[in-house]
């Protein structure tokens, strides 16, 4: 898998590049800001761009802007955004522009390399990745009258995995059950939560995230 890496901290960028190379990824470019990132993507033709959200010059959300540009110019290139703080609003904003090959991950994950590697592969394969911490936060939030109470233990776990962007197959692999079993869990969840059934796995992520978030209003 060909990877472009963008982070304004050279120290972290170099270390991460080494680690990813060791893990078998092909590093085709590195950048310290959004402009160089776009150049590196244009030239290196990567499968995935791993991008820190906060970069110069404004140190706010250049990464998200760059991700949109990359998605527009190179629809095949997956974008995995890294952030020090996970914000549900950012995740929704990011996924609203299209969920295929998009990921949003806590930057801490770089120290659990296998999680980062898996995320890069999944984004490269066109899947959606949402950091489990966001999902845990949304699912675990206490509500006045919690509709999630009606779900069984297993259904809650399936819901969380859906929100993380897993496909039915991914979920079935995780739980070591048949895909058909997963499908029936999903149908039951959608009925209990009164959610409109989404056609494919990608749009399902957004629907579930929005559902979990909208409930807090």
């Amino acid at each position: 898998v060909r990877v472009v890496l963008a982070d304004d901290s050279a120290l972290l960028r170099e270390s991460l590049a080494r680690a990813l190379t060791d893990a078998g990824f092909e590093m085709v470019g590195q950048a310290g800001d959004a402009r160089h990132l776009l150049e590196a993507v244009d030239e290196g033709a990567p499968d995935v761009a791993v991008v820190d959200i906060r970069m110069p010059p404004t140190h706010t959300d250049e990464g998200i802007e760059a991700a949109h540009v990359i998605r527009e110019r190179h629809p095949k290139v997956g974008v995995l955004l890294l952030s020090q703080h996970l914000q549900t609003a950012y995740a929704i904003k990011l996924l609203s522009a299209g969920t295929e090959g998009v990921g949003y991950l806590l930057k801490d994950r770089v120290s659990r390399l296998e999680e980062l590697e898996e995320a890069i592969r999944r984004v490269g394969a066109g899947e959606t990745v949402v950091d489990p911490e966001i999902v845990a936060r949304l699912v675990g939030r206490r509500r006045d009258r919690d509709p999630l109470d009606e779900l069984t233990e297993r259904e809650r776990a399936v819901l969380a995995l859906m929100a993380e962007g897993r496909s039915n197959r991914g979920i079935s692999e995780q739980f070591v059950v048949s895909e058909r079993t997963v499908e029936s869990h999903v149908a039951s969840i959608f009925t209990k939560l009164d959610l409109a059934v989404a056609g494919d796995d990608h749009r399902r992520v957004l629907a579930v995230l929005r559902y979990l978030r909208a409930d807090n209003q």
Partner: protein
């Protein structure tokens, strides 16, 4: 000097008292003498003049008592005394008869002087002085010239001289003095006219009537003229002191309006209202008020125009208002108002209070504004510093800790199976410690300044806050952006209030509501706990100060039954 006030001095008052006593004595002697020694055929006419003299004397004494510094009173008394002299013409005693004859018309000099000098009490122009001198000469011509000729039985020359003298009387009275008075009345402004009006009217009627009768008496000589002339003359003359009383009582009524002025000045609270209020109270529409400008070293009107106190216009006068020796303001008004020092003094005191009050108000307002602005700047500087610290932590220590955890992980991978179980455990623990340190540092940085607040605004930052709260929190917040200081203040109000809920309230739920009110952002945090929030606690005190720095409102209601409710209104344009 015109425009300056003649202060009544003790000496003058003493001299005045002596004069009154003298006049009183003369009057008493004159009265007794006249009554005892009147001849029968002239008695009614002379008694009439004697009574008119009393009218002048009494009015003069009243005016004198009221305005000790003004010569109008003594001049009235003098006129009265001279009328008594006139009435002595009818005495049996030769000496009194002679004195009465010689001074028989001298009262006219005093009266002309009085009306020309009214209201200030002295003659202000050369022309007026010339008129008085002319009057003295004309009177002397009759009383001394004609009388002596008659005594010497030179009747034809006496008659001719009398005719010449009559012509002079007619020309002077009707052609010069009366027009002079009327012109002065026309030239005067409001208060001057009111004061002069009655006197000018009665005196002018007297002067014209006198001239006319003199003409008929001297040049036509019908039989009835003597009988008709004296009662008419006496009636008109008696009206003169009464009109002076009338003018005085008008001034007294105006003085009572100073009370209204004080009430009005207490209400208007601004320099603009002072001039019209004073003009109304003093009855002087042309009145101007100038406020002292220390920078420019002169007086300025409310419109910012320079106002010079008049020096060469005898009809204008200035009253200066001072506070602790420093000039405060000047009132430029009609000189006639000086005739009633108590009116202008009382108005001046009221105006001074108003001006000083306004000045202090303005000073306090300016200081308050300066303090408010500096408080707001302190809050803004604090926010900027918080942002700087957060960014430094993010770009520095946080990145290094992430790199450290990554490198520990890579070290562990590189060493791989070369490590024994204990070494692997140590390495893994080091990685976990570094990771935990990073997580703590991240929370600390967010507490200093949540980056989401400056990036995505208040609603997103509050959502981040609420998502991680360990109890259900309802949130409503508009997604618009607001000025940085407004957003951060609103955020810290909500964050601090929520922290309080978690720490003290033992609540099962809370709500944060941000609404866009009229010109302000209203943040309300409520919970269903058991109250007990301390508004003076350091946390709430701190955000109360923050809100106050932006000129906002802050309120905490806390009760065991109703939970706690924190409300902040933050102005935002």
């Amino acid at each position: 000097v015109p425009g300056q006030r003649a202060e009544p001095s003790k000496v003058k008052t003493m001299v005045g008292s002596v004069l009154v006593a003298t006049c009183g004595a003369v009057g008493l002697v004159g009265a007794i003498a006249s009554w005892v020694f009147f001849t029968t055929n002239q008695a009614p006419v002379l008694v009439g003049y004697h009574l008119v003299g009393w009218a002048f004397a009494i009015t003069g004494l009243m005016g004198w008592a009221r305005r000790p510094g003004n010569r109008t009173g003594p001049l009235l008394v003098l006129t009265g005394a001279l009328l008594w002299m006139l009435s002595m013409q009818g005495s049996h005693l030769l000496v009194l008869r002679t004195a009465g004859g010689l001074l028989g018309s001298a009262f006219a000099v005093a009266l002309i002087y009085l009306v020309l000098a009214f209201p200030v009490g002295y003659l202000t122009s050369r022309y007026d002085r010339a008129l008085v001198v002319a009057t003295v000469l004309i009177v002397a011509l009759e009383d001394i010239g004609v009388s002596l000729l008659r005594m010497a039985s030179a009747h034809e020359i006496a008659t001719s001289l009398y005719r010449v003298q009559s012509a002079l009387v007619i020309v002077t009275a009707a052609g010069m003095i009366a027009p002079r008075l009327i012109r002065r009345w026309i030239a005067a402004s409001g208060p001057g006219r009111r004061m002069l009006g009655p006197l000018v009217l009665s005196t002018s009627v007297w002067l014209f009537a006198h001239a006319l009768v003199r003409f008929v008496h001297t040049f036509v000589q019908p039989g009835w003229i003597d009988a008709a002339y004296q009662p008419f003359n006496q009636t008109v003359m008696a009206a003169i002191p009464l009109t002076v009383v009338f003018g005085l009582s008008g001034a007294r009524a105006r003085r009572s309006r100073v009370g209204d002025l004080v009430v009005e000045l207490g209400r208007i609270h601004s320099s603009e209202g002072l001039r019209p209020a004073l003009a109304r109270t003093l009855g002087d529409p042309g009145l101007e008020v100038g406020f002292w400008s220390a920078e420019q070293g002169r007086y300025l009107t409310v419109d910012g125009l320079a106002l010079e106190p008049p020096t060469d216009d005898p009809r204008k006068a200035a009253t200066f208002l001072e506070s602790q020796g420093h000039p405060l303001a000047v009132i430029v008004h009609d000189a006639a108002l000086l005739d009633d020092p108590r009116l202008i003094d009382a108005s001046g005191v009221a105006a001074r209070l108003a001006v000083e009050n306004e000045r202090l108000h303005a000073e306090v307002r300016a200081q308050l504004e300066a303090v408010r602005a500096s408080r707001a700047r302190i809050v803004e500087a604090g926010d900027a510093e918080r942002r700087r610290v957060e960014r430094n932590l993010h770009d520095g220590a946080q990145q290094r800790l992430i790199t450290l955890t990554l490198q520990l992980r890579m070290l562990s991978d590189a060493l791989g199976s070369g490590l024994d179980a204990r070494q692997q455990e140590l390495l893994e623990r080091a990685r976990q410690e570094a990771s935990a340190a990073h997580a703590e540092l991240r929370e600390l940085a967010q507490g200093v300044h949540p980056s989401v607040l400056s990036d995505d605004g208040l609603a997103a930052a509050l959502e981040y806050l609420v998502e991680r709260a360990p109890l259900p929190v309802r949130l409503t917040a508009p997604h618009e952006r607001y000025p940085t200081s407004v957003e951060s203040t609103a955020y810290f109000v909500a964050a601090e209030a929520l922290t309080n809920v978690l720490k003290h309230a033992r609540a099962s739920g809370a709500s944060i509501s941000v609404t866009n009110g009229e010109g302000e952002l209203v943040v309300e945090v409520t919970d269903d706990g058991h109250g007990g929030a301390d508004p003076e606690g350091s946390g709430l005190r701190g955000i109360a100060d923050r809100v106050a720095a932006l000129d906002g409102s802050f309120k905490v209601d806390s009760s065991p039954e109703g939970g706690t409710r924190v409300r902040a209104g933050i102005p935002c344009e």
